[in-house]
């Protein structure tokens, strides 16, 4: 199968066209147009990307297998964990969200659940202490803010 490169090539050509069309939407720079305006360099790039993507479509490399099935789900789980980590960092606070995120990742990568979440908790507390005391940098405490000293 050689469809990965082809599909990607087509997507990139679409991107190149959209990106190139975007250059027509720029406002005129203050002081009038010059030899090289804000649109010149992007237009060059659009042409280069379109041509090189065309090459990928014409002469694609053999595919690497995508991890469908279970591994694919694991990957999606990992990405979801990362997104939730980012989303919950401020509301839950650094220590709790880190325990959950690092713990879940360790667990999904094959560690036993207890060990995984203990690793998460220890690393979270250690990094929090390091940042607040050694580096003097405040990470959000979130739910644990009642413990805040001073």
């Amino acid at each position: 199968m050689v469809s990965n490169d082809r599909i990607f090539g087509i997507l990139m050509i679409v991107l190149a066209v959209a990106y190139g069309w975007g250059t027509t939407q720029f406002n005129e720079p203050f002081g009038g147009a010059e030899a090289v305006g804000p649109e010149t360099f992007p237009r060059l790039l659009a042409v280069v990307l379109a041509l090189s993507s065309l090459y990928m479509i014409v002469r694609p490399d053999p595919d690497n297998a995508w991890p469908w099935s279970r591994t694919g789900i694991e990957l999606i789980v990992a990405v979801v964990v990362l997104i939730l980590y980012a989303a919950l960092l401020q509301p839950l606070g650094f220590i709790i969200s880190t325990t959950l995120a690092v713990g879940t990742l360790c667990w999904r990568m094959g560690a036993r659940p207890v060990k995984a979440y203990v690793t998460g908790a220890i690393s979270g507390v250690a990094v929090y202490l390091l940042f607040s005391f050694a580096l003097d940098l405040a990470l959000p405490l979130g739910l644990l803010s009642f413990m805040e000293v001073g």
């Binding site: 720029f26 090189s52 990928m56 990992a78 980012a86 560690a111 990470l139």
Partner: protein, 508 residues
């Protein structure tokens, strides 16, 4: 002897106690980063950049620390090659060939010690080469006009894949994507480009976020896919019984490897992998039938190790003098320079002489530190090597999160980083190299600026871009950088594969 004076000043900077301390920390962390499989040098340096900011380090201290990390990572790569038969980074691949057999014969600690000495010699030679060559090249680079710079940037992209690169067209695709991302934001005439009215995009995409996402997050995803969480069986380390004669025995190999490596590192398109490969093949040729290469010959450890370390110091030459990195890790170091508001290139040698020479002196000092760290303390690194990736990678990911979060304290950056991570995973699956994307992000603004200057000077005449002999030369080399991989690439790659007996980790 002007250079000597600068170098002395550099030592003054590098020997300041806090700089020395950060050099030591950097060397230690670097060795660790290099040793742990799945945490390559570019990745490791990238994760540490935000931390250098949050520490509020002075520019020269930050640069010294991360250069030490860089140097340390090259030392560390050999540890997992020898003990696990997995190269910690790509250039350490050749070290596996004789290093692992030595470990199998119960001579692991000799192999580690020999490779440390060889790394030391290689780096030392290359650092001296750097001291001699860099000022000359910087002077020469002062004659470059904008057109020459524009061509030079093209050359940098074209040779980035190296002549062993698989598909140069994918390098072009990657470079174009990187440059496109770099155009997002307000350009220097004040026009908004591709911001879609989003406030966060006005200042463009922060390349530190992109780098950490592309490297660190995609690495995590790859480990999950490979189910490599458990780690591999490692060799036992015996007590060290190294005689002086053993070291004398490998000296010539290390010297040859170091010189070759340096040359390979300076030249665009060669890089550390080729440096260690040439180092190994040359050793095999020179020693001839007297050697027992592939079965644990110490010279087969020394040659490529010296070559690999020589190349990594050599790669700093174009980065420091021209502002054009030739490898992933030097690209990340360039990212640090740019974010410290230092314009890399020939002017840096005059305007930021203390930083440049401080870094160079720190390289020399770092080498001695690393030798000391790596012979008696190798046991610590070996212990840390047995931390399975299933614990290590989530923690590293967390450190990446903290680092990025601490830059601006916004969640937006974190989402961005995860998005770059997913993109990086897809790119790597399609074998689209990540380094040109990063280089595009870094060099994009400079490239456009030089194009503008050149065209303004020539009043919109495109031929200015190839008007001088120098510019034409650069264009020709850039063209060769794209065409040669199609011609000699398959041959060289086949040889490397035959030599290592594996497909090896290609690209990255």
């Amino acid at each position: 002897m002007e250079t000597l004076g600068f170098l002395m000043d550099g030592f003054g900077v590098a020997l300041a106690p806090h700089n020395l301390m950060f050099a030591l920390i950097g060397a230690f962390l670097g060795t660790l980063i290099g040793a742990l499989p799945g945490l390559g040098p570019a990745n490791g340096v990238a994760i540490l950049i935000p931390l250098a900011f949050t520490l509020g380090l002075a520019p020269e201290t930050a640069m010294i620390m991360l250069t030490s990390v860089y140097a340390g990572a090259m030392y560390g790569g050999r540890i997992s090659s020898i003990l696990l038969n997995i190269p910690g980074d790509e250039p350490a691949m050749m070290t596996c060939l004789d290093g692992y057999p030595m470990a199998q014969q119960g001579k692991a600690s000799e192999a580690l010690a020999i490779s440390a000495v060889a790394s030391f010699i290689g780096s030392l030679i290359a650092t001296i080469g750097l001291i001699l060559l860099a000022p000359l090249l910087a002077d020469f680079a002062l004659t470059f006009g904008p057109a020459e710079y524009f061509a030079l940037f093209l050359l940098a992209f074209a040779t980035l894949g190296g002549i062993t690169g698989k598909n140069p067209m994918k390098t072009v695709v990657a470079a174009a994507i990187g440059l496109m991302i770099a155009t997002v934001g307000i350009d220097n005439t004040g026009v908004q480009r591709y911001t879609f009215g989003t406030l966060e995009l006005y200042e463009g995409v922060d390349f530190i976020i992109a780098i950490v996402g592309l490297f660190a997050i995609s690495e995590l995803l790859f480990f999950i896919e490979d189910k490599a969480g458990g780690g591999k069986e490692k060799m036992a380390v015996n007590k060290l019984t190294l005689k002086w004669a053993d070291i004398r025995n490998i000296l010539p190999s290390s010297l040859r490897g170091g010189v070759l490596g340096f040359i390979a590192g300076v030249l665009p398109g060669a890089g550390a992998s080729l440096g260690s490969f040439i180092g190994y093949t040359l050793e095999k040729k020179v020693v001839g039938k007297k050697g027992y290469f592939g079965q644990g010959d110490p010279r087969g450890v020394a040659g490529p190790e010296a070559g690999n370390n020589g190349a990594s110091s050599g790669a700093l030459v174009p980065m420091l003098t021209l502002g054009v990195p030739g490898s992933g890790t030097t690209a990340v170091l360039l990212a640090l320079l740019i974010s410290l508001n230092i314009t890399p290139g020939p002017l840096m040698f005059t305007q930021n002489a203390d930083i440049v020479w401080g870094v160079i002196a720190a390289l020399l000092i770092g080498n001695f530190l690393l030798l000391i760290l790596n012979i008696p303390l190798v046991g610590i690194f070996v212990k840390l090597l047995s931390v399975p990736p299933m614990y290590l990678l989530p923690v590293v990911t967390m450190i990446a999160f903290v680092g990025i979060y601490s830059i601006s304290n916004t969640t937006f950056d974190l989402y961005f980083m995860v998005a770059f991570g997913v993109a990086g995973y897809i790119f790597r699956k399609l074998e689209i190299p990540l380094v040109p994307i990063i280089l595009g992000l870094l060099l994009g603004p400079e490239m456009e600026k030089n194009l503008r200057h050149a065209m303004d000077i020539a009043d919109g005449d495109w031929t200015i871009l190839w008007d001088s002999g120098l510019a034409i030369g650069l264009w020709v080399f850039a063209g060769m950088g794209l065409i040669l991989p199609y011609i000699v690439g398959p041959i060289l790659r086949r040889r490397m594969r035959v030599a290592t007996g594996t497909g090896g980790p290609e690209g990255d």
